[in-house]
């Protein structure tokens, strides 16, 4: 080898190094410039500030950004029959939505996929749902006092916005949780407080829940769920890019394009179609039969459940066919277990364990299998 050869090949190596540095520039710059340090706050102060900031007359400040949701729950690979916009697909992989919030009940959520886009545009009491894959614009009329519409058990795309997710999490703060505040986190390039909720219970599969609040506006920017024994969050939803400037007004106006199908639906009255109502009814039905065992983070839900019922129900309709396929996959990964309480099938993921007993009960909880079998003994 001549010396010139080494010098020459140094050029592509240098190029690779430059590219690698450019890819890793974000973390490196963050490391060099040091973590942003915000004034210290206790958890109560932070929550009070956050509550004050969000419950002001104008609510959250107008903003826009990109929200990314990543789930690695350790579920068996789900069949992708529902397409990318199916709610079931939110349970695995990574998804991105774009959010524009203009204050005054004006917001737009867009879910861009390959050569397709679904949009939810809400402007006051008028709402449009646009799906480019079916070329359908649905005019949604929101009835007064119909806030209960989210009782459907499937996740909706609008659940992705960090404020809502954070609100749900904060409801769980009680004596079973130790709370601390980190004041040097950074989310979407903004200094942020991180509220860390750690379950005190040993049996819980949840290591901790981290809620990042913007250091300036106290808008929840990110929610992370860490499972025990893994450094990467099992579930994460948060802004990857955010700006707190009012977005352009044309984001909140929608006129159905020529040639598109226009449908109308009223939320709250007829439900979003008949199916959603049935589902909600079914969910309420099930909720009435649920028995809770344990407290706090290691609470286990016991539901009367027959596999044959579900399989029969899963056979109907196109949407349920996805459910059937998913059910089959999930059941295949189940391991048979038995004990003094009886026997059944155990489905274990990073965050949630489910036990389907042969005597027709379904136990679900964010707990270790041991805790779950213990709960199965409680009749």
């Amino acid at each position: 080898m001549r010396r010139g050869t080494f010098v020459r090949w140094g050029v592509p190596i240098a190029a690779a190094a430059v590219i690698g540095a450019a890819i890793g520039a974000g973390p490196v710059i963050a490391a060099v410039s040091g973590d942003p340090v915000l004034p210290e706050r206790s958890a109560e102060q932070l929550l009070a500030d956050a509550a004050a900031a969000t419950s002001k007359q104008q609510g959250i400040a107008p903003m826009s950004g990109t929200v990314q949701q990543t789930a690695s729950l350790g579920l068996p690979a789900l069949p992708q029959t529902g397409g990318q916009t199916s709610p079931l697909s939110l349970l695995s992989g990574s998804h991105e939505v774009k959010v524009w919030y203009g204050g005054d009940q004006k917001f737009r959520v867009a879910m861009p996929t390959q050569l397709n886009e679904t949009n939810l545009i809400v402007n006051g009491d008028q709402a449009w749902y646009w799906d480019s894959a079916t070329n359908t614009a649905t005019k949604l009329t929101i009835k007064e006092g119909s806030e209960q519409k989210h009782t459907t058990p499937v996740p909706q795309p609008t659940d992705l916005t960090p404020p809502q997710a954070a609100q749900r999490m904060l409801e769980g703060v009680d004596e079973h949780t130790s709370v601390r505040v980190i004041n040097n986190a950074e989310v979407a390039g903004r200094p942020a407080y991180q509220l860390v909720l750690t379950p005190k219970d040993e049996g819980s599969l949840v290591q901790e829940v981290r809620i990042a609040l913007d250091g300036e506006t106290y808008v929840p920017l990110q929610v992370q769920l860490f499972a025990k024994g893994s450094a990467e969050p099992a579930y994460q939803v948060g802004f990857t890019q955010v700006t707190f400037t009012p977005p352009a007004a044309e984001n909140f106006t929608f006129t159905p394009p020529a040639g598109a199908k226009v449908e109308e639906a009223t939320l709250g009255e007829e439900g979003f179609g008949k199916k959603a109502e049935e589902r909600a009814e079914h969910a309420a039905d099930v909720a009435g039969q649920v028995k809770w065992v344990g407290e706090g983070w290691s609470r286990v839900a016991v539901v009367p459940f027959k596999l044959s019922d579900l399989q029969a129900q899963a056979g109907q309709g196109a949407d349920e066919a996805n459910g059937a396929a998913m059910l089959d996959t999930v059941l295949k990964s189940a391991t048979p277990v038995s004990g003094t309480w009886g026997s059944g099938k155990l489905i274990k993921t990073k965050l949630v364990t489910a036990l389907l007993t042969d005597d027709g009960r379904l136990l679900v909880g964010a707990v270790t299998p041991e805790e779950l079998t213990k709960a199965a003994g409680v009749k």
Binding site: A22, N135, A137, A258
Partner: protein
Amino acid sequence: MSTADTQTGIRRTPGLVPVAETMRTTERHPPEEISAPVPPARRTWAFWRLLGSELGLTFRRPRNLALLAVLALVPIVLGIGLWIAAGSGGDDEMSGLIQDVAGNSLMLTFLSFSFLVLLLMPVVVSVVAGDSIAGEAGTGTLRYLLAAPAGRTRLLAVKYLNAVVFAYAATAVVALSALLTGLILFPGGSVTLLSGTTVSMADGLLRILVTVGYVGAGMAALAAVAVALSTFTEVSIGAIAGTMVFIIVCQVLRAIPDLAPIAPYLLPTWFTNFDAVLRSPIDTAALRDGLLAFGAYIMLFGSIAWARFSGKDITS
């Protein structure tokens, strides 16, 4: 040099005794000594003249023209197929994309691109780019090209620019063919974007122009990979096949959901990002990320090609 020879892309220089150019012969005369007396203006002129002659060869070669013709044919077939489907099928059976195309002439361009960037356009570009150095080496004409006091870097730059121009030509051919087919078969007028908003036809044409720029840049990045492979072999089919394997392996890796984290590092992932222009507002972040990825690929594989080619023993 006869016209027939030029057309088939084979260079023959009668009267010159074939002498193998090795590192020893080139190092005896360091390139600086030769190129220093030549005024810069004349060197740039020579560069453009060489590029012009390369382009002439590329675009006169029947094989390349046939490739472009195949590319032009696909949007026409696609357009006629959709036209028949839109004419016969009921409104309910049509998917949104077919409705979009049937409703507006410009949408056929985007649909054609979304099909062609996956495989056919990469094939066409890699044939020309993979042939660039290896083809000359294979037919024994590379040493004559280097016999002129040109320098290998300049020859490589000319070869790569030639491939880039061809990549943009292929992109433009697809766009023009789709546009013409669309204008003939489907109604014109304002364009419905994926976000459901409507823009004027002039705006739509502008967005097609942006798409051509973006897809062309993606193909230029692929050409860099092909040229780099081309410097490693004297058999052009090897470089072409190598590039095709690269593309297919990337597509397979992209299709595996568990490998989603590595997808951003694969070149073909970024090809389809042109649909950002169909959103409202235009997703400039997606386009910028794609162009940065293309730039990174051009930089990396360009430098690999240079390192290999400038130090290569040219024996044929």
